[in-house]
Every structure is written in C-alpha cells, then in structure tokens.
C-alpha cells in the first residue's frame, strides 16, 4: 500500500529539517515547516511511528527510520528530476517549477522515474543546484559556498540557491542571475555588505542578504 500525500509530505519535512539524514526534529519545527498546528503534527507522528517510518518519543521529537529515509530521499529524487524535466525539456523557468514538482513528486511509479532519469541523461543536480539522489538514495555533495563569502575581485559560478520561494527566484531572474552564470565581485560595501557584481559585461547590484542565499563555486 502506498502512502498518502500527507504522510509523504511529513516525511519530506522531517528530512529537510533534520538536515543530516539522521538527527531528531521537534513537533513545532514540523508544524512551522508545513504551516499546520502542533496537534496535527502529533497525530501524524503517531501514525508514522506505527508504520515504522520514523522513531518517535512523546515530547522528544522524531527522526526518520531506515525505511523513512528511503521514502523521503526517493521523494527528493523525484522532485528534482521533475524540476530538471520542466526546465530542460519544457523550457520553464527555475522560479516556476517548484510548485509543480511538489505535485509531480507524488506520482507512483518507479519505472516512470527510472525512464525519466534516463531520458534526462542521469542529471546530478537540479535547476536550483541541489543534488539529485540516485536510485540508492546517495548523492554527491558539491563544494558550494554563499556568494556573500567571496572577497572583492574573486569570481564564482552560480550553482544554486538556499531559498526555494518564488518571489526570491523571480528577483534573481529579473537581475539576470541564473545557474551556470559566472560573476565577479567588484566591490563589497563595508557598512551594509551590499555587492557590486560584474556578469557578462553588465554590472549588477545585490544586497548582502540576497547574496547570502546564492550558492557559488569559486572560479580561478
């Protein structure tokens, strides 16, 4: 028997919040992540615990079991593969694909996903620069650091973002920033940490907060 959308979303939230695949997560943190009440979370944690998808102790929080990790990682894999498809094949923009992938990730068919993976050429990263777990749930970690940590004169290739929300991604798009682009830091404001960047000849101004949420790979 498959899991419900709700159950799957809880597992994803726990994986996301635990950061490390292991690690325990509080009821309130999950409630905030899923924008629901703590009481609902408690109910669901009991159910997931009964199904042995998580380890749960009253008042102590929850962590994914082996099986729970498997399921959650598989959802991540599906989500990210669909995002690649939407951007690469259908030509959608990276700021509009997240919500659609949020629905597509629940489609039930292992065969479909393996075919899709093959069709896309086994990509290792999604359009936001996040790594795509392989069939076994393993994924490469990429050397990525916030753009805000570069020093004046240094260059970096944009490989991802920390925030997934649409307004933020749209903001980047508007500035011409996207995956693969190489930027060079011209100046950094000492007071507010705002950046002046040069990208493909154009100069772009970026606030410190925004630069903090853009991930780059340093380039020689």
């Amino acid at each position: 028997m498959g899991l419900s959308y709700a159950e799957e979303n809880y597992l994803k939230a726990i994986l996301k919040l635990s950061g490390s695949p292991d690690g325990t997560v509080s009821t309130n943190a999950i409630a905030a992540q899923l924008d629901t009440s703590a009481a609902s979370v408690t109910d669901m944690l009991k159910k997931l615990s009964d199904k042995e998808l998580i380890t749960y102790q009253r008042y102590k929080g929850a962590s994914l079991s082996e099986e729970g990790q498997r399921v959650a990682t598989s959802l991540l894999r599906k989500h990210r593969l669909w995002e690649v498809f939407l951007v690469q094949s259908l030509g959608m923009t990276w700021d509009e694909v997240h919500e659609i992938a949020e629905e597509l990730e629940h489609i039930q068919s292992d065969r479909l996903i393996e075919r899709l993976d093959n069709f896309l050429g086994h990509p290792k990263f999604d359009p936001h620069g996040d790594p795509i777990p392989n069939k076994q749930g393993r994924y490469t970690l990429r050397a990525q650091i916030p753009l805000s940590t570069l020093v004046s004169g240094q260059s970096g290739m944009i490989i991802g973002v920390k925030e997934d929300d649409s307004p933020f991604l749209k903001h980047l798009n508007d500035k011409g920033l996207s995956i693969g682009k190489i930027v060079r830091v011209l100046t950094i404001d000492e007071y507010d940490h705002g950046l002046l960047l040069r990208m493909e000849g154009d100069d772009v101004v970026l606030s410190g907060q925004v630069a903090d949420h853009i991930l780059v790979k340093p380039v020689a």
Copy 2:
C-alpha cells in the same frame, strides 16, 4: 479553488458515459464505472450540482454543464498528452501508461500542459488512437471502425482500441499488434467469428471479441 481528485474523476466518468458531450447519465452507471456505491454517487452529484458543474435532478440522472464539460474535456486532454509523452519520449509501452496518466492528469498547471503540448509537437491522437482535445476542447474525429467489421481480404491500419485495461493491451502487444501496423484479414470463422490475419508476413489468430475492441482505418 481547484477540484478534488474525486470530483474530477466523477466529471470524467460522466463525460465518458454520456458519449456525446451532452446526454444524461444514471446514478447506477456512474457507480459501476467508478466501482463505488450508488449512495456515494448521489452524494457527489449533489455536490457537483451545487458547484454548477452538472445539471442534476433527483431520480433522473445527471449531465455536464458548460463548465463541467470544459473541465472534463481538459482532463481528457491532459491524460492523453501525458500518455503521448510516456510512450513517445520515455519509451514506455502503450499497455502500461494508462494508470500513470490517470494520476498525471490531475496535476494543476495550465502552463505546464501548454508547454508539454508544444514539446510533443501538438499531437492529435494518443497512443491508443484516441483524439486529443485542443485547448478549446475541440477534437478531430477519426474514421475508425472495429477490426471485426472488415471483410475477408480487406486491410486496415490499427489506430486504436476500445478497452484501456492493461491485460487486454498486453495481450495485443504479445501478438505483435500495435498502433500503425497494417493487417489484412485472411479468413473469418463463420461460427465463432475468429479472425486469421496477416501482418508483416506473420499470421495471427484473433478471437471475435478481441477484434471487436480493436479500431482500424480501412486501407485500399
């Protein structure tokens, strides 16, 4: 606000059963189609009527409203476009795509569907030979007749099937029958109406019932 999966499935069932986009459908027919109880159907018909997606009169049956037709046809469009994608792009077989498309058709995004349609080259028919409604809900009807109506010596190109269920499609696959193949009727059994066909040099035997569910376009 979008509709629930359940509501969408009822609209699809009504469209399918009414044959002609108009035409009224009985409670029991819907219950049989969706493999549910008549009582459940009554509940749902009331709800859909409140939302003005159908016209419904107690004890008299239901028919789609303008808006209901729009929604149901759009579902058909999505279902069939996804089937084309699964077969054409991912290389799946026509007997395994129906159930997956059954899930994919509920994904909410008009932009996604228009992009997919474009990506696929605006196909007019799905892998089962069924016409794909355009954005406005209109679709071409193709001159298609059951294989069982051909007479001895006549040839036809396979363009579709009446049954969508997997065992049936698998059966055809096993016999080497698929969309686009041209078959010639060699003999027809007078007693049980079984057929002997020639296809690409090979001879294939088919029961009358099966031939009745295969759609062909007569070929000179």
